[in-house]
């Protein structure tokens, strides 16, 4: 039985919070709660999800304002002390804005909001986020973003590669991301940021459960 206690952070403008809740609570049967962004701390939660959406209307830059919300300072402490945090889509943008993950997510190269299922390669399965995947396994996960073009400078890219921090790459790069990057972990390997939405590929009734491989990996890491 997993000891994971999932906390899904809800910002004004989050819109994948309920999908994430459903995936963890109803499909994976894990203790799951919402955390309103104005709360002062994460309480007893030990697995924090920053869900997709348009926090604060994406004003200024995606994730820039959410980064300074009340709850985020506790999440930053939690993450810096080894706590497990997953940022999906807007959550990934927030993690980059906080500096918990390196780099930035720019406007898609073709300027379009892209909403479709894409094919990813799992580049590293020696992580708590990909333990249930095979190395180089191809999984299909939906994306839905206008600002998902990952960018960092050359030095950071070399670090990401040499430290095996790149977990997922696009097989047919939809947004212009550097090095086809779709998802990365931090160097301490407790924080994941990814643009694709595993929680949207979690229920058999929707015809694709590849996302469960990622979500169940991290849940089982708490056993």
């Amino acid at each position: 039985m997993s000891k994971a206690k999932v906390g899904i952070v809800v910002f004004p403008g989050s819109n994948c919070d309920h999908d994430a809740y459903f995936a963890f609570k109803d499909i994976l049967k894990v203790d799951t709660k919402f955390l309103w962004h104005k709360e002062g701390n994460i309480g007893d939660r030990n697995l924090i999800i920053l869900p997709g959406g348009f926090s604060y209307g994406d004003y200024l830059r995606c994730g820039a304002i959410a980064r300074f919300s009340n709850l985020m300072s506790d999440i930053i402490n939690f993450a810096n002390n080894g706590g497990v945090v997953i940022g999906i889509c807007n959550g990934f943008q927030i993690l980059c804005e906080t500096g918990l993950l390196p780099g930035v997510l720019l406007k898609n190269k073709n300027l379009q909001f892209i909403c479709k299922t894409v094919s990813l390669t799992v580049e590293n399965n020696k992580s708590i986020f990909t333990g249930n995947c095979e190395i180089k396994e191809v999984i299909n996960i939906p994306i839905a973003h206008g600002e998902g073009c990952y960018f960092c400078d050359d030095n950071i890219l070399m670090e990401l590669i040499s430290n095996n921090q790149i977990l997922f790459t696009y097989n047919d790069n939809p947004n212009g991301s550097l090095y086809n990057i779709a998802g990365i972990q931090n160097i301490k390997r407790n924080i994941l940021g990814m643009m694709p939405h595993p929680e949207r590929a979690a229920d058999e009734i929707l015809g694709n459960t590849d996302g469960i491989k990622i979500l169940s990996s991290v849940v089982e890491s708490f056993e």
Partner: protein, 85 residues
């Protein structure tokens, strides 16, 4: 009081697809002498102090902490003395 007029621009190494799209549109209108287009942001802050040093420090901190993401953006600002209004 000072007004900080802040310009935030994408760093030159960063591709600006929005600028490119606008440039294409300008070209199709016949502006063939325009050879590059970059899009940025303009922000104005009213800062309640009479000391220019302090206003400069506040505007600089605001840019560093929130208004610009220096991984991808540069910022610059002018300070204009204002008597309110």
């Amino acid at each position: 009081m000072f007004i900080a007029k802040i310009k935030i621009t994408l760093r030159s190494s960063i591709l600006d697809p929005q600028g490119k799209a606008v440039e294409g549109s300008l070209k199709s209108l016949g502006f063939d002498k325009i050879i590059d287009t970059r899009i940025g942001k303009y922000i104005e802050l009213k800062i309640d102090t009479d000391k220019k040093d302090e206003a400069e420090n506040i505007a600089g901190q605001a840019c560093k902490k929130l208004l610009a993401n220096q991984v991808m953006e540069n910022y610059e600002f002018d300070l204009i003395k204002s008597d309110g209004g």
